[in-house]
Symmetry: C2
Subunit: 298 residues, 2 copies
Amino acid sequence: MNKVVFGIDVGGTTIKCGFFSDDGELIEKEELPTRKENSGENILPDIAEYIKMTLAMHKKKFTDIAGIGIGVPGAVRDDGTVNKCVNLGWDVVNVPKKLSELLIFPKEKIKAGNDANVAALGEYWKGSGKEYSSIMMVTIGTGVGGGLIIDGKPINGFNGAAAEIGHMPLVDGLDFACNCGKTGCLEQVASATGIARLAGTKNAKEVFDRAKAGDKDMEEVIEKVCSYIGKGLACAAAIADPECFVIGGGVSAAGDYFIDKIKKYYKKQAFHPSIDTAIVKASLLNDAGIYGAAKLAL
Amino acid sequence: MNKVVFGIDVGGTTIKCGFFSDDGELIEKEELPTRKENSGENILPDIAEYIKMTLAMHKKKFTDIAGIGIGVPGAVRDDGTVNKCVNLGWDVVNVPKKLSELLIFPKEKIKAGNDANVAALGEYWKGSGKEYSSIMMVTIGTGVGGGLIIDGKPINGFNGAAAEIGHMPLVDGLDFACNCGKTGCLEQVASATGIARLAGTKNAKEVFDRAKAGDKDMEEVIEKVCSYIGKGLACAAAIADPECFVIGGGVSAAGDYFIDKIKKYYKKQAFHPSIDTAIVKASLLNDAGIYGAAKLAL
């Protein structure tokens, strides 16, 4: 009998749970609400309960588990300690230790990682990045985040801030601050929020829809946004030089229209050895996190 | 008897040779001219001859060699193959294989790497970077190059172009091209050549000397240059997030005056988790390459 692995992606609203065979086949997935009240004290017990129930339903035992991986929206130290995860209400929580106590399961088999890095690992393992030796995932949604995987290993950075491509100071002339407190971050023009703000529309989807329908003003906004994203990728390539960029997040739903423009501006600005770096759309969408979390534990 | 290791740094003008104990103590160093004529065919034989002579003088045998490391000014594949190194006149050369044949020494114990990455490894091992888990070395000389070391391992990049911080497209409004063919590279304003061009002086040293003596125009140039370097480091930190930046190359001779201004502009532009990343001056100077090459082979 093959072993199984759990991949859990803890978000601010829901906990996505994946139950996998150890060769990476998704057997079943489920979503739980993220109960953030009381400093998020129910989050890990809810996950433990889900794991016990799933094993029972599938007539599996704890000894059948190859590992449990968990992605959380915050910086995670190598030992799995999360330091003040605002999105979950957590103070300092050592995820493997706590979950190990709840499940009476060896903590060495429980791994935790930052959600963006974990999603990148998912795309690298089973998604659009699977043919490449190294990828940088760029998630363009409400914010702009990322994850860097080199030779199968997530690069977290000394401060857990590697692949934070959205906070490169690349935009001159802005007169308002980024969520991070600085001014001039790529995220301020390249996120869904930023795109809508530049265009004066309700949301980024409207900008793309109108641009695709031929609205010149909206086209101009998209060109400007893609020029900045191209610059960001060119800078990222000059530092990490991945084999492939994987573009994910809600805005990537704009598809080839968006990806092709990013490619155009990347090629204009990239250092020549890296000019042919692949730029592809993410394929696992909301499941990238559970795949990556599972891989983390294998 | 302890083993010995050779660290060789091949430059366009001279070949720097270091003879080390295997705990990294420099026993002796020597410089040979780089004979680039006839497609650089003498370079590796000259190195082989130096190694034989040095062993003879110190009454050591080939069996006493722990390894031989070589840094070359070009992209180097994992197997030690150098593909068209213009600075040496080389076409395609597999350095470990060729040197192994010349010395009748196992090629597995001969390692080759890009000179900038090798210098970074030297600073990481025995120089200013030795107290840090990860460093990015930034070499500011005729050009602006760099090397990235994470957990003791050089990160070369898929195209051998990682840590090429000088070719990030960060400068708007330039009307002339970089050596690489693009326009807007950090190197165009931050290299020794770039600094002198901005200031209209003979060389970068004059700009620093006059600025330190109170020349307002020269001070303004230095502020501008350091603002761009600070932006470059902030972008690099948002991608690789090293624990420390090590600033080397000829321009770093300007000392704390220069480093302090870089720090000031870095802190203004860096993403907050990385705002306290150390920025220090390189300490091994021209010996970084031989130290790093030796480490590569250990």
